[in-house]
Amino acid sequence: MNEAIHPLAKKTVVWYLAVTSLVLILMMIFGVIMLMNQGEMIRITPQWFYKIMTAHGTGMVGIAALGGTAILWYFLSKYVKLNPAILIVNFVLFLTGVSMVLIAIFVFDFSDGWTFLFPLPAQSAKMYGAAGAVFFLSGMLVLGIGFLILYMYLAARLTAVYGGLGKALGWDIIFRGKKGYGPPAAVVATAMVIITNSTALLAGATVLAASLVNIINPAVTMDPLLAKHLTYAFGHIFANCTIYMAVIAVYEVLPEYTKRPWKANKVFLIAWNCSTLFTLMIYTHHLLMDFAVPKWMLIIGQVFSYANGLPVMVVTAYGALMIVYRSRMQWDFASSLFFLSMFGWVAGAIPAIIDATIVVNHVMHNTKWVPGHFHTYMGMGVVAMIIGFMYYFNKTEGNQEHRGIDTFTIALYFAFFMGLVGSFLYAGGISAPRRWAEHLPQWVLSDQAGAVSGIFIVLAAIIFTARFFSGLRSVGSKVPYPKKSAAS
């Protein structure tokens, strides 16, 4: 199959990337403000700290999903004819939901965090009024509906073209002995994301709706532990899936640069099927300190969190290393960031796996170790993939070229991101709690190191974004995909 991306979808992808890059900078600035406050470099009220924290978490996961979706759509369009209207509908609902979330936070003082725990919104509604909680919960629902529509549509398209999600995941090769290779990596990854993220969104919608009903009529309640299961079945999977969408760019682009195939062989397909299953199962590692949860479920949280590291460590990252090894590949903005993003993904998985060990979690859960892990994974993994894709898009659809400043910016971004996540992990190691507006003196130095690193990361992100927007000027609408080989 060799489809061409619809011109309207291409324009919409540009909008996705533009919003992603601009919101990314804003959310990074929010992150720096929080670190500066914890580091006693500036002073904001706790109320404002927690409002910014809520915006930062929601916004970062939101744009990671938005950028990941742009990547998924762009590359899947090579293999499956897609209707751009769905991409636009998702974008409109995304912006509507984001607007509602921002109104909730900055007009009505909602500050319960993006993974709020029931019945916190109802409790906050009593103190600060119901409008904030209602706007936030409804906004998140609107966002979720947009993504759910997108996944339902993609499921229908994969079913039409490949005969079902099972076949898109290569089940006929794994279980029925069919010879040859499975569908392209973009299709396999899309099938995985459809299954896991639809489940996540349904879990999220349930807890959002229940929380809304509880605010309107407090007599209708929900079991807090069940609600927490649903919250993390949503939050963990949704955040996790951002990288499974974004990694499609790595699978698609590195073979172009290295002029080597990266095909879905049996091991590859087994790995992605394992990722599908494990991603659905391992959210319970967020509940390891809820001793009321059945012990077997918590042990699953530990064991399968370990196992979930294997597909990326043994197949995806290893595959990236193998394809680059002795390839005489051209190193430019995109190839460098995609290569480094694989490092970021695995580097983020290491402290995550360690923290999923129950005895470790007992003394590290909800310390800054946790943001240490996911900032590695998100910042040096997902965001690196999205930024790499922005450059690749401009190069492939236009004529953007790699410059010396790009090498400098990549080095700046990664060096200081290592500093940022190092400060988080160190703070977690000395038991500094996460999500605290004010810190004790012994934790302040790590916050200051994180804040300074964050300032340079923001600078790098501004340069990345400026380069993206300047490169967009060369993007034409006349040349069908792919205009030219990225490696040429």
Binding site: V324, Y325, S327
Partner: protein, 183 residues
């Protein structure tokens, strides 16, 4: 102890990872036949995969016998004669049925919450997190801890519970064994 292990293990494995990426980057400037590279690569991958499985299996075996919520283990350690303390989290305070302890006391904290979910985090005098559990309305989570050293311990809220989350701190005093007041 676990914090140190986590930090050193992370530095060690990330360093190994960085070496692998640096090596491949260095080798990327040379050329090689991909089918040969794949053949060798898949062979190495088998050992790499088995190595990872072995590390994970070792960590599992070493840790699953020490689960903090294993009441059998608590009994094995002689905690069946523990002092039972009721703990309730409420925005933004900790209510406890008992607040003064002696070094050597084996304590069973029965932790719950009366409004929203909080996190019961027990810190020792060096502000090192030594035990925790969630404080959730409608549920009681039991966590055991033996106060081996006297001093001022603190309970910090470790689950975000709204704007006063960071002030939800309670000091508890553990006196030296024998009852002399702690200074």
């Amino acid at each position: 102890m676990y914090q140190q292990i986590a930090m050193y293990a992370t530095v060690f494995f990330v360093f190994l990872l960085a070496l692998a990426f640096a090596f491949v980057y260095g080798e990327s400037k040379r050329s090689g036949e991909y089918s040969t590279i794949q053949k060798k690569g898949y062979k190495i991958r088998k050992f790499y995969f088995l190595g990872l499985i072995a590390i994970m299996a070792f960590a599992t075996v070493m840790t699953l016998g020490r689960l903090p919520y294993n009441s059998n283990q608590a009994e094995a350690e002689g905690l069946n004669d523990a002092k039972v303390v009721q703990v309730t989290g409420i925005q933004y305070a900790w209510e406890m049925s008992e607040e003064t302890f002696k070094a050597g006391d084996k304590v069973q904290f029965d932790v719950t919450a009366s409004d929203v979910t909080h996190g019961f985090g027990l810190y020792n005098e060096n502000m090192e997190l030594v035990a925790q559990t969630q404080a959730m309305p409608g549920y009681t989570n039991t966590v055991y801890y033996t106060f081996k050293e006297p001093g001022t311990y603190q309970i910090l809220c470790l689950e975000y519970c709204s704007a006063g989350h960071h002030v939800m701190v309670k000091e508890i005093v553990v006196e030296p064994e024998g009852g002399a007041s702690y200074e």
